[in-house]
């Protein structure tokens, strides 16, 4: 009897569809790793003797540089916001998040325009001090340190958000214990406050470093040799897809190390903040000079990471919009929006399938499959795109051979040449974003509620309608929004996989900027940034509102 139940719980519609979905989503990345078994000796000898060490060193320096700066910026901001009370704190709390709306490649080319020889800053310096060309030293933004700063300016919110929660959730009694034991504040800071916040800070840094490894737009624009630019060059320059996939596998293994760091941190956070529901710390009211410079320090990152570049983009856009607002721009907008919308809907439907499957059949194989596919957010877009390209073109060739043999017609590149490839890559990369929101929503619908409704005489479909839909609505909408915006901002995968003659805002902005038409790139860039603000607003609303779950406990 038991044996039959076990079989039944394995082979059902849920399990089959989840397994199928997971396999399709994981196929591109899986293929990238399979490529390792097809050695490309000649190319690798070439890469090894020329650029490979650059790829490794530059990618590592970039990631660790970004890690260092986001920790410094994010932790300082989080500390000020969580522990001090000052004029403008409430507004700063969400202003600080705004750089998240800014894709790194956009801030990179905006700063290039701001800081190059003909840009406003150098012009101002020359006019003020009556300098000529060559009279002065000015740092070149198109460099590795420049890329580190650009990425740090838009990625620090990862650390800020997690560290802020960690700082403000430390119960006030911990500080009081230290004081009553005669421990000086500075020792308390280094022995208790920072060690307790460390997992959160490291987790934020790990996420930011994953983004740094995955970045393509900034390093390509600055002409740096990293893994991502190397993958493009190996494929499109040297024409070797397998070697490109092998490079991608190497890049992914670096990211896996970060994933492990993130996982360990997440587990520690759970232990540290287990069941502590005591009084939180009161913010210290600032007086004197501190009341001036703390808000000042807090404004610097958002000014550099958002306000200044947006002002520059606005200036450029006002100069060019008349010749830019053509039917071509509207087509661009339409392409981007419907592509992002389809991707968002696909990702959310998959997330719903996985989340409900996990809940209805909480068996190990399903949890494991979903857990693995959930790691897609860590894999750089370039890597997934390479894998998808190789696997789908293989599939297309097979299909075409088949149809030519049987029906004597060629169906063309139905998978690799269509939007299907893009949707597949987006879904596998942004599934985690959708899953996170759906899971949060579903956890609000406690299993006991289903049971309660059943015992009160409702049928499963009615329960779905009167309990699940109303409770899940906001989570589904925010999942849609977040995936939509992420797709809109995504660059490298779109560059590789877009169908011929199909442009999006991100691709167009990047192409124009690469052609040194910075001003013309401003309008599509602004469009991306303004849509990117939506999730920041959503995030702020969620942060301000107390979690409905936590108010139910106690």
């Amino acid at each position: 009897m038991k044996h039959i139940n076990w079989l039944y719980s394995w082979f059902n519609v849920w399990f089959v569809s989840i397994a199928l979905g997971c396999m399709i989503l994981a196929a591109p990345v899986g293929l990238v790793f399979v490529s390792v078994f097809f050695p490309q000796t000649e190319i690798w000898q070439h890469l090894y003797s020329t650029v490979l060490s650059d790829y490794i060193v530059n990618s590592l320096v970039l990631a660790f540089g970004v890690g260092f700066f986001v920790i410094v910026i994010g932790t300082v901001l989080a500390w000020c916001i969580a522990r001090y009370e000052f004029a403008g704190r409430k507004q700063l709390q969400w202003l600080i998040l705004l750089p998240m709306a800014m894709p790194a490649y956009i801030i990179a080319y905006t700063y290039t325009g701001l800081l190059d020889y003909a840009g406003p800053i150098q012009t101002l310096l020359r006019e003020t001090f009556h300098w000529q060309y060559g009279d002065y030293y000015f740092p070149n933004i198109r460099s590795l340190p420049g890329a580190i700063i650009m990425l740090s300016l838009v990625l620090y919110p990862y650390v800020y958000m997690l560290a802020r929660t960690a700082f403000s959730e430390q119960p006030s009694s911990l500080e009081e214990v230290s004081r009553s034991l005669g421990v000086p504040p500075i020792k308390h800071l280094f022995k208790v406050v920072l060690p307790l916040a460390r997992p959160a800070i490291l987790m934020g840094a790990a996420l930011a470093m994953m983004e740094a490894f995955a970045d393509y737009g900034t390093v390509q624009y600055f002409g740096l040799s990293t893994f991502t630019t190397g993958i493009f060059r190996t494929w499109f320059g040297l024409g070797n897809g397998i070697a490109a996939a092998q490079l991608a596998a190497m890049l992914t293994s670096f990211v896996v190390l970060l994933l492990i760091l993130e996982y360990l941190s997440r587990r520690k956070i759970r232990y540290y903040f287990q069941g502590q529901r005591s009084q939180q710390i009161n913010r210290q009211k600032l007086t004197g000079s501190k009341a001036f410079w703390v808000p000042f320090v807090c404004v610097i990152p958002v000014f550099l990471g958002f306000i200044l570049p947006v002002l520059q983009l606005l200036k450029w856009a006002t100069m060019t919009y008349s010749k830019q607002l053509t039917s071509e721009f509207w087509l661009l907008l339409w392409n981007s929006f419907y592509l992002a919308a389809i991707a968002a809907i696909t990702a959310v439907i998959l997330a719903l399938l996985f989340a409900y499957g996990k809940r209805l059949h909480p068996i190990k194989p399903i949890q494991l499959l979903v857990g693995v596919v959930n790691l897609g957010y860590a894999v750089p877009g370039t890597v997934i795109a390479i894998g998808a390209m190789i696997s789908l073109s293989w599939l297309d060739i097979k299909i075409n051979t088949l149809t030519e043999n049987w029906f004597d017609i060629s169906v063309g590149l139905v998978f690799s040449g269509s939007l299907f490839a893009l949707i597949l890559v987006y879904s596998s990369r942004f599934l985690a974003v959708a899953m996170h929101n759906i899971d949060t929503g579903l956890s609000r619908v406690k299993p006991s509620m289903d049971d309660a409704a059943r015992s009160l005489g409702y049928k499963p479909l009615q329960i779905l309608k009167i309990i699940h839909v109303p409770l899940m609505k906001t989570s589904v909408l925010s999942a849609l929004l977040l995936v939509f915006v992420d797709v809109l901002k995504e660059l490298p995968a779109t560059l590789i996989l877009r169908p011929f003659n199909f442009n999006t805002l991100a691709v167009r902005a990047f192409e124009l900027a690469s052609d040194e038409r910075l001003m013309d790139a401003a309008l599509p860039a602004l469009a991306i940034v303004s849509v990117g603000i939506l999730p920041v607003i959503l995030l702020t609303m969620l942060m301000d509102k107390p979690d409905p779950q936590s108010s139910q406990v106690n």
Partner: protein, 351 residues
């Protein structure tokens, strides 16, 4: 060791503690008992130095630590606190937690003290565990060991048993008292549960609405409460109305009792007097009959709620041996056996 003189604590303009005065001697265990919101925790925090006093003085070892314009920081007071949520540092091991407040000692001394304390609180060998791997009772003992490690002059305990299971509380209270007495620690604790107070404390202070109403030992609190609030908060019992007759005796529905001539009551005064369940004796011979309106079986005893059949149908509680088993609505005979009379003026004031 600790003395408070007319201490008031105010948040913004709201006074949480008003005019509290008491003293605690070396090695004594004191307890502030009162309903939630009575100001007992604010008072404890003022003693620890986390809150400023708005009036009065707090002295430790006859040294002034808190007054309106002088405030010794908590870290300089040598006052240790065991918090309600224990506030163990989750990233440190048990041993590291306990040694956290040991500053001027080398590692060998620290290790020795930690081992000693773990023995004392009954957790030998738990040095390298982390707090999340301990049960609630074990966490409380570690918090206690941490607070006592540096031999503070005064130990404060904020609702020390509130996060524990009811069955654990009595046992731990006894253990805790033994540990404190062994180390000769002066301690002040706060609770809303009189059983904890009785089990732990040498001196108990009952607080209500920010005021300390009575500061004395458990026996006196139960048998000689100073006002109606203390009488009704500590122990069970009901107040029966009565009046003072012309012989200066208390004339009530349950008989006439002599009162203390020094009590200050005059002839014709309306008064109430306290009747505890153990004062009401079930006696079949008695002519005073009362109807059983509720009963709760407690094993060896049955607690009856009775309604008098005359004079306003007043209700009272009666603790009878369990083999005196009477159903609801039966009339049973009772008599009062009052060792001493607790009488208050009947002005309806409960505080």
């Amino acid at each position: 060791m600790l003395s408070l003189n007319n201490v008031s604590v105010a948040y913004q303009k709201v006074e949480a503690v008003k005019d509290v005065t008491f003293e605690l001697g070396v090695g004594q265990i004191g307890c502030l008992l009162g309903p939630s919101g009575c100001g007992k925790t604010s008072l404890l925090r003022a003693v620890a130095g986390f809150e400023n006093v708005s009036e009065g003085q707090i002295c430790l070892r006859s040294k002034l630590v808190s007054a309106l314009h002088s405030h010794l920081e908590p870290e300089k007071r040598r006052v240790a606190v065991v918090f309600q949520d224990y506030a163990l540092f989750p990233h440190l091991t048990v041993a590291q937690n306990i040694a956290f407040g040991l500053h001027q000692q080398n590692s060998a001394q620290k290790r020795q003290r930690v081992t000693e304390l773990l023995m004392l609180v009954g957790l030998p060998g738990y040095d390298n565990r982390y707090p999340h791997a301990l049960s609630g009772g074990q966490q409380q003992r570690v918090a206690l060991a941490r607070a006592m490690a540096a031999k503070p002059d005064l130990l404060l305990l904020d609702e020390p048993f509130s996060s524990l299971d009811a069955e654990l509380r009595d046992e731990l209270a006894k253990e805790l008292r033994a540990i404190l007495k062994y180390e000769n620690t002066t301690a002040l604790m706060v609770t809303h549960d009189q059983h904890e107070a009785f089990a732990m404390a040498d001196v108990i202070g009952v607080m209500n609405k920010g005021r300390l109403l009575q500061w004395t030992d458990a026996y006196a609190l139960y048998h000689r409460p100073v006002n109606r609030f203390v009488a009704s908060f500590v122990g069970d019992g009901v107040f029966l109305g009565a009046s003072i007759d012309n012989n200066m005796q208390l004339n009530s529905a349950l008989g006439v009792f002599p009162i203390n001539p020094d009590s200050g009551f005059k002839q014709g005064d309306k008064v109430v007097f306290l009747v505890r369940p153990d004062d009401v004796i079930h006696d079949d011979e008695s002519a005073t009959l009362a109807k059983v309106v509720d009963r709760s079986f407690q094993g060896s005893h049955i607690l009856y709620q009775l309604e008098l059949q005359h004079l306003g149908h007043a209700r009272l509680l009666c603790l009878a041996l369990s083999h005196h088993d009477h159903p609801l609505n039966e009339l049973i005979g009772i008599r009062l056996d009052l060792e001493h009379l607790i009488v208050f003026a009947d002005n309806g004031d409960d505080s």
